[in-house]
């Protein structure tokens, strides 16, 4: 064998890390898609495209769901597929209106499972006040899919006066988080076969559009919102800092993490800041509106655990830092791929 040509190139094959929402995902987007899909709307890389159609602003978004196991404590792939797309619309301030759903089914999938998933989607959509109006079904050979994949696409209406963008962020703004982090990621992980621990943690999967509506009413000074899904709070705040060209300072003691999630993370060697959420949002708010925004969040059942977790600074543009519980400070980096369980 030859001697070492490291570092190894990450570009020859798609790795699992390319789907982690971290730096590898961003590279794939930049190097493959943005290069050829030359759309200024896409280039904004928001959770949704906002399009002017006939004098109205329409939010438009799509998301695919490949979660395993299909059913987990707190939800299933069906409810998640509704919530995920509703939330991508809601983060743009839009009122969600209609969903399209596409299913990729693996030959041999039990129709009972499919019916349960469809029923769960119907209930989630009805609870969110959104209608599933079109769809598609494809079947792939056994072994060519993981049981069931779902894609949902949604449209919504952005009310006049609502204009959310990372470009609005200013130094001194506050960072609001709507509740406990890490529940979804830990709930999913604990149900995988290779992980030998049990927990009562349920996924936080939920549709956030009514929380957003209350928040926008109470705090017109909201600059931008994001739901910290894959890659967690760390990836989301890093993205916002990079886009705004400003720094973000988080406070470790202010970030709400459940005891059970902290325990599971300690065991696995994970940092809750990087664990996925499916029913939380981060809002950057003008300082004078922060208290009103926090109160509005806490008054909503999905924001009961809300907290102000940090602020925006001109120092260290593009970098997120964390004040530790000892008063020391360190960088919160974006992970390149997924967090890996450690040896000891």
């Amino acid at each position: 064998m030859t001697s070492c040509p490291t570092p190894l190139e990450t570009k020859d094959r798609v790795l699992l890390g390319h789907g982690s929402g971290g730096r590898l995902s961003a590279e794939l987007l930049r190097d493959v898609f943005l290069k050829v899909f030359r759309s200024p709307v896409l280039g904004r890389l928001d959770d949704q495209a906002v399009l002017e159609i006939g004098g109205e602003r329409i939010a438009f978004t799509t998301d695919s769901f490949v979660v395993q196991p299909l059913f987990f404590r707190g939800g299933d792939i069906g409810s998640l597929a509704v919530h995920g797309t509703v939330n991508d619309l809601a983060m743009g301030g839009a009122e969600p209106l209609y969903l399209a759903a596409a299913f990729i089914l693996e030959e041999g999938l039990s129709t009972d499972i499919l019916a349960r998933v469809a029923d769960s989607m119907a209930r989630a959509a009805s609870a969110a006040g959104i209608e599933i109006v079109t769809g598609d079904t494809k079947v792939v050979e056994k072994g060519k899919g993981d049981g069931l994949f779902i894609n949902t696409t949604g449209i919504g209406r952005v009310p006049p006066g609502v204009n959310l963008s990372a470009a609005n962020i200013r130094p001194g703004d506050r960072v609001l988080l709507s509740g406990f982090i890490g529940d979804h990621g830990i709930a999913i992980l604990s149900e995988r076969e290779s992980i030998g621990f049990e927990t009562a943690i349920a996924s936080d999967s939920a549709a956030l559009h009514t929380l957003v509506r209350d928040l926008l009413r109470a705090a017109p000074g909201i600059r931008v919102m994001r739901d910290p899904t894959r890659g967690g709070v760390s990836s989301t705040t890093n993205e916002l800092a990079a886009k705004a060209g400003l720094g973000i300072e988080l406070m470790e003691t202010a970030i709400p993490v459940r005891e059970e999630v902290r325990g599971a993370c300690e065991l696995l060697g994970f940092d809750p800041l990087y664990v996925a959420n499916e029913g939380k949002l981060i809002a950057i708010v003008a300082p004078e509106d922060a208290d009103a925004g926090l109160a509005a969040m806490r008054a909503h059942p999905l924001g009961a655990g809300a907290a102000i977790i940090g602020s925006v600074t001109e120092a260290h543009p593009g970098i997120v830092t964390l004040e530790t519980l000892f008063g020391t400070s360190r960088v919160v980096d974006m992970l390149s791929g997924d967090q890996l369980p450690r040896i000891c």
């Binding site: 064998m1 790795l15 040896i343 000891c344």
Partner: protein
């Protein structure tokens, strides 16, 4: 969280820091041996809390980091075999071998799985008699008993499709080597709490006596480390060179004799090559001859590979505490966790990864008590 928050109490930490500042009258260089300890120090910014003249250098106690390139290449070769399933602890997957890593083998169709315990690998072997299941048995004395247990259990059950790729290394021989270098600066050691949970600390008593250096067996939480540092500084200031135990909630002088008995039924001490350091005599474990049927290197015939280290990587000096990760010209530019040149940048226990992941930004120094 009970049994954790007590060891992360900022008020208690400040009191211990104040005591270290009071006791330390001269400059001292201390080494925390274990990579887990390095990460705690960096994650909580404990290096910023300490007085400038108490310097911490980082030891070789990162199992992923010291696993030699050829072992990674053997794992890659095994994982690329069509009927093989390679089961590994998660942080081994991204470590670059000479031509590939386990993530790439997985992407190319190899059956590579992450497990938390060798017993999970054993369970896979029972469920899939048609697959040859190999557990990548990496680690210090800490993980050796569980790995030995898996092999012992496999033999008892007569499992024919389970083997282990052994890369076990031992802490005391590496420390003995460091202490023998003319360039050694380390005056006191924080011994690895988890290794000592298994092994006890009599081996460190021999080292302390022979080399006149103090050891304190330390835990992994911020207050464990601060207390261990205080105990070391006290010994040094008083001219003592003893072994003291800070991690009393886990470690006894004799260690876990039952675990060691099982371990030595299956393993025997052997010479081992350490990545970045080289061959060290009697510094690891290999399977005993009667367990040869469970040795993946024999079963897959991947014994002959030898590989040179990349010349630019200074992991040798970093692992020996002779250089800080930031002394490397490639640190943070050509070598990052995305594009690691050497294992200390890959592993969650590695010193370079600790410096990169928990790094500071200029102008954000902690204003500690004077």
């Amino acid at each position: 969280m009970k049994f954790l928050d007590e060891y992360r109490d900022p008020k208690l930490a400040q009191a211990v820091v104040a005591e270290i500042r009071r006791v330390a009258t001269r400059p001292w260089v201390l080494m925390e041996i274990c990579g887990g300890q390095t990460h705690t120090l960096m994650k909580y910014g404990i290096d910023e809390l300490l007085p400038a003249h108490v310097e911490l250098v980082h030891g070789p106690g990162c199992p992923v980091c010291v696993t030699p390139l050829e072992l990674i290449d053997k794992a890659v070769a095994i994982a690329s075999t069509p009927d093989a399933t390679l089961v590994s602890y998660g942080d081994m997957l991204r470590v670059p071998g000479s031509e590939s890593d386990l993530f790439r083998v997985k992407a190319a169709g190899g059956d590579v799985r992450i497990a938390y315990s060798p017993m999970d690998a054993l369970a896979i072997a029972r469920r899939h008699p048609e697959r040859r299941v190999v557990f990548f048995a990496v680690g210090f004395e800490t993980t050796a008993p569980a790995n030995a247990m898996a092999v012992w259990q496999a033999r008892r059950e007569g499992l024919k499709n389970f083997t282990v790729l052994v890369s076990h290394v031992l802490v005391p021989p590496a420390i003995r080597l460091l202490l023998g270098f003319p360039s050694n600066r380390v005056q006191g050691f924080i011994a690895p709490g988890h290794v000592c949970t298994v092994m006890g600390y009599t081996e460190y008593e021999e080292l302390a006596a022979a080399h006149k250096v103090p050891f304190v067996v330390g835990g992994f939480e911020p207050l464990d480390l601060l207390e261990a540092i205080l105990m070391l500084v006290r010994q040094l200031e008083e001219g003592r060179a003893e072994v003291e135990n800070q991690y009393v909630r886990s470690v006894t002088r004799a260690g876990n004799e039952a675990a060691r008995r099982r371990m030595f039924e299956v393993f025997e001490v052997s010479d081992r090559k350490w990545r970045g350091i080289g061959q060290i005599a009697a510094s690891g474990y290999r399977l005993r001859e009667e367990y040869a049927a469970f040795d993946a290197e024999r079963v897959f015939d991947v014994r002959s590979t030898t590989i040179e280290e990349p010349p630019e990587c200074i992991s040798a000096q970093v692992l020996q505490g002779l250089a800080k990760p930031t002394d490397c010209s490639a640190f943070g530019s050509r070598c990052t966790p995305d594009t690691p040149l050497g294992a200390p940048m890959v592993s969650s226990e590695g010193a370079c990864a600790a410096y990169y992941r928990w790094r500071r930004t200029p102008g954000l120094r902690f204003q500690g008590p004077a």
